[in-house]
């Protein structure tokens, strides 16, 4: 009978961790939506520097304040075990990050880049106790209060993390043909933290990006910036080609084909917009 006490402990731990990650994921979703909203404020070249700067800070905050704690929770766990808990936040984050990246560099962000951003070196000092005992309710409480604006400039875990990334350069193989960088190598597993970015979630996030691009294109027409609209149409055509390449397989998640449908509609809206310019 006492083995059931052990079972109860294991189940509770799992459920609690799951709940904490879900909570973080929701915060990430909210913050990522804010970034996207911010980026839509760009109406001409002159707006870019200020808006992009602000977006960069916000994205950094999400990474340092939220993803870092998700990564801490995932130490020594099978990365897929809690994937369902954070997949929502991850897709929204990819959407925001890729939108930012597209506006900055006029290109699609790569999976490697996204994964790398969610790879942290564990800071040996401050966050240690929190991380070592993720079940400590006080630590969890402390974490919940963190993502407030006032603390943004504090010297904290996140900053040293971003340095750590520089040092590490390429600590792990960045491309993994088996569909995700999932090898927790024994040696580094204990020192570095990461949030796994499955390629499927990455691509789903990109699919959402097309909706934002469409909205931007329609905005540009309103502003009379018709060339920008044509450029975005071309970008969407390229994305569309990409998704066709991937192909909609039978066993593809319903989520994906729904998003591809949305992509098709977005593309056609932009096509219709370009048509109306030409008539």
């Amino acid at each position: 009978i006492q083995q059931f006490q052990e079972h109860a402990r294991i189940l509770d731990e799992k459920n609690d961790k799951y709940e904490r990650i879900v909570k973080l994921s929701r915060d990430i979703t909210v913050e990522s939506k804010r970034v996207i909203f911010l980026l839509h404020r760009i109406t001409c070249e002159d707006d870019k520097p200020a808006v992009l700067g602000e977006a960069e800070i916000k994205l950094g905050d999400i990474r340092k304040r939220l993803w870092y704690y998700v990564a801490s929770e995932l130490v020594n766990e099978d990365p897929y075990k809690f994937l369902r808990a954070y997949t929502g936040g991850l897709q929204e984050y990819v959407e925001a990050l890729s939108f930012y990246h597209y506006i900055c560099y006029d290109e699609l962000i790569s999976w490697e880049k996204v994964q790398e951003e969610l790879h942290f070196q564990r800071n040996a000092h401050r966050p240690k106790d929190e991380v070592k005992d993720p079940l400590d309710p006080k630590a969890a409480q402390a974490r919940e209060t963190i993502p407030t604006k006032e603390q943004t400039e504090d010297e904290d875990a996140g900053d040293s993390v971003s340095v750590a990334i520089q040092e590490e350069a390429h600590p792990e193989p960045k491309s993994d043909s088996s569909g995700g960088n999932t090898n927790l190598k024994g040696s580094t597993a204990k020192k570095s933290l990461q949030v796994l970015v499955p390629k499927t979630d990455f691509v789903l996030g990109l699919a959402d990006l097309t909706g934002e691009v469409m909205r931007q294109a329609i905005n540009f027409i309103g502003l009379g910036n018709t060339q920008a609209c044509f450029d975005l149409m071309e970008f969407l055509h390229a994305m569309h080609d990409g998704f066709l390449d991937v192909g909609y397989r039978h066993d593809m998640r319903r989520e994906m084909s729904r998003k591809i449908n949305v992509l098709n509609h977005s593309l056609q809206k932009v096509e219709n917009a370009c048509y109306s310019i030409n008539v």
Binding site: K81, S178, D245, V246
Partner: protein, 212 residues
């Protein structure tokens, strides 16, 4: 191109899935055979040779299911256990059920998770061991055993065995006490817990009938 890379990765995943599916199919066929053997204990003809039936089912499990499970285990990349978990989840539960049922028929006792994983199925007990037995699956298997035993209690009486129902009643009450310790968030387990309560009631009625 970012998409070509992704297409390859789903191709690779698809291949793992196909392999897992093949291995699973073998295990499921074997598990069905095992269930079919154990069904005989419910019948008048089988009731006399419970020990034989149990021994046969155990041998079948050791000699056939265990190696098949080892093959499944090796086809799942160790660090991606949960990626494919939903595929073999239910099958593992069923195997736990078979183990605990055979064990109960032999010993009249509850089989622990440690023993199920280590001695019977020879898979891991925790994440560190790679392919391992999750608590949920172990518990799910026990509930299946409870369903089977509730039915068995009825047939024992029909076959004039008035002792085993009492033993089953004890087994179920231990199980029920254990489950009461759990904080059942998991909807699936909760529903199963209800069926356990129902089984308990049924067996108590049988024991009551016997006492009068």
């Amino acid at each position: 191109e970012v998409f070509r890379d992704y297409a390859e990765s789903i191709e690779a995943e698809h291949e793992v899935r196909e392999k897992v599916r093949d291995k699973l199919r073998v295990i499921e066929t074997l598990a069905r055979e095992s269930s079919a053997m154990l069904q005989h204990v419910h019948q008048p003809s089988g009731f006399a040779k419970i020990a034989d039936i149990t021994a046969q089912a155990e041998r079948h499990l050791v000699d056939q299911i265990r190696p098949a499970l080892a093959e499944l285990s090796s086809s799942v990349p160790a660090s991606q256990f949960y990626r494919y978990y939903a595929m073999f989840n239910y099958t593992l539960m069923r195997l736990c059920h078979l183990c605990s049922l055979i064990h109960f028929l032999k010993e009249g006792q509850l089989l622990t998770r440690a023993a199920t994983a280590q001695d019977w199925l020879q898979i891991g007990q925790s994440r560190a061991d790679g392919f391992y037995l999750e608590v949920d699956d172990y518990l799910g298997g026990l509930i299946q055993t409870s369903n089977e035993l509730a039915r068995f209690a009825v047939n024992c009486v029909t076959n004039q065995d008035f002792e085993r129902p009492v033993q089953i009643c004890e087994f179920l009450s231990t199980l029920l006490a254990g489950f009461r310790l759990l904080n059942l968030k998991n909807d699936n387990l909760r529903k199963k817990f209800d069926s356990l309560k129902y089984d308990m009631k049924k067996v108590e009625e049988v024991v009551y009938d016997l006492s009068i």
